[in-house]
Subunit: 426 residues, 2 copies
Amino acid sequence: MDDRPAHVVIVGGGFAGLWAARALARAPVRITLLDRGNHHLFQPLLYQVATAGLSAPDIAAPLRRILRRQRNVEVQMATVSRVDAQAREVELEHAGGRRRLGYDYLVLATGATHAYFGNEHWAPHAPGLKTLDDALELRRRLLLAFERAEAATDPAERDAWLSFAIIGGGPTGVELAGTLAEIARHTLEREFHNIDPARARVRLVEAGPRVLSAFPEDLSRKARRQLEQLGVEVLTGAPVEDIDARGYRCDGRFVPARTVVWAAGVSASPLGSCLGVALDRAGRVKVRPDLSVPGHPEIFVAGDLAAVERPDGRPVPGVAPAAKQMGRYVARRIRARLGGRAVPDRFAYRDYGNLATIGRMAAVVELGAWRLSGVLAWWFWLLAHLFFLIGFRNRLVVLLNWSVAYWTHQRAARIILGGDDRSDRD
Amino acid sequence: MDDRPAHVVIVGGGFAGLWAARALARAPVRITLLDRGNHHLFQPLLYQVATAGLSAPDIAAPLRRILRRQRNVEVQMATVSRVDAQAREVELEHAGGRRRLGYDYLVLATGATHAYFGNEHWAPHAPGLKTLDDALELRRRLLLAFERAEAATDPAERDAWLSFAIIGGGPTGVELAGTLAEIARHTLEREFHNIDPARARVRLVEAGPRVLSAFPEDLSRKARRQLEQLGVEVLTGAPVEDIDARGYRCDGRFVPARTVVWAAGVSASPLGSCLGVALDRAGRVKVRPDLSVPGHPEIFVAGDLAAVERPDGRPVPGVAPAAKQMGRYVARRIRARLGGRAVPDRFAYRDYGNLATIGRMAAVVELGAWRLSGVLAWWFWLLAHLFFLIGFRNRLVVLLNWSVAYWTHQRAARIILGGDDRSDRD
């Protein structure tokens, strides 16, 4: 071995990758953090950008800025196209072309993206929500739909523009449906002449038997009731059979809906498949208990790209706290290998609980045996998210936007960018 | 005449159109306000979106929201493609297709856009700044340039990415150049490994003999000095001869610059040419002294689309206060025709002065005989712009962003959206 510090390459600046980089701040390593964007994204609030409550920069911060005081890390904006585990190199694509970058340790934390499970032709008609660009595209579609309804002369056409479907009753679907119902009922009140936005139909379509299936049954029931009070029609046991530009098919029946949002499933980033090891059905890497890749103790996988089980056999969920914990654990494992303090050889997920917001003053919270729903749960959710948001300025701006929204029902970012083209125009 | 109130169609929701609509609030008319976007834009702060200081929704508000309490106005998001002055109809293109809309009075306030005066092939290499989409594209280019420089392996390539040129020394050019110099010298400090952002060269290239030619000569001189103190290289008497993806040609010399911004000229919206009346060189409609169109007393033109002279022969400038005054004047003329109070038959521009900001604590202000430059002028500029910004929330968010930027040199919106493609990639 030469004298140079070990080179740790981290791919992905999300919760797992960024927390891994930070936890290596005092380690005798040099770190290269690669991300295809220039920012860390606070994904739990992404739905608020999609629903015009926050603007994109409110929930994102430049990775360079976050890490500027950490001298052992270099940030590069680049897409990793391949991992060559034999040569211990990753292949980058960036502005200057392709190049290869060697590593001593590799942390893969490229997360997940929405997936249509063989129905990729649905994508243009039912966009998903994983990046800021996705969120801005959704915002455009949601706001334009009301404009289209207002301009429509044919009543059936108008109704189709006022018909919204969110496919998938997980946390993202529930948040989007609840917020959209609030927009239709309150935010747009008295602003239109030819339509009554409050007559918009917001349907939440879930294939399984209940919404928020990761929560206990009684909280799912309460979430459903809260959604219905906000004006959302909740359909469970309703797998979607087809989606096109005019609507979707479910239970053999075609439902006109010019705006369909996909929140029904994610699959892991394709980078995992370069490793030549077993993946689970969602494309996640089946890692060893210490999050390393079988046969490659120098490669770790953290965050949504990793398939990890808890002692009781349940999977570690794809949530921000789990990603941060994995990132930190991987950093400690690397430090231990470099002569630092020993670390248990099994990642232990510490489950602090589960929160989901539903809409104005509606949420569900599960903290061990402690369960909350309604207004109190909503306040808890709000404070928790504000607390975990990165950056002093972001917190203040978000708090201000939320306060104004709370009192006025107004939303800060109701701006249609990019003209009124829709990619699914027909 | 029938009993229905007169129908006033206003095209454009900028300062002229929006102020005309508001000033007709109590008039016995029904108003249709048409805009191709859904928002009113506070254009004086657009350069701050382009330079990542503010996010797009901070300086824009939905037209429907602004006008929701004014019951005699209907907002439609639509593009007006033609005016048929004989039939008294405008032709709309919107979501539902084309249609025609009749009017009793027409107010054209579609403003201006940047113009390349016969060099339209420069447009992809030197984008301009008139809309929020323009501003976000500029932000992307400015931020990506530093990323590209960081990734470059060839020194000449790196220098070309660190070379910025702003073409045009008017207020927009001066604002962009000063702010960009601040970003390079302060905002990005210590964030890069392979480059020193402070070594970026920001050139402001003006064809005429001085920057800010609308100001008195001594203020132009002071503005130039302030720009140079901020690190901008100011070139005057330097008409640009060519622009391509790699740089620009000026004085027979090619200057490498991967990021060129066009702030050198605007021309009026093409709608004026439908009227069959005389236009000036910039395509503006030569209106009568009461802002009506010769031969069509029922059509008014307000804002940047109107070519109006002051009593001393100087043109009314294309600034926000002039547009608002024209909008209000036109509204009063229409009210007078409908039996309201008589109004002078000549629009009189009230010149409150001229402000231009240059960068951190640098600005010039001319208020009649009163002239200011430097820190005091900057505070004056800041308070004036905050005061005129629409919306309580926007003011607070902008104030907060500015305060944080002032103390930390940080900018709130340093987010690259849309991946790292550049339309001028070569």
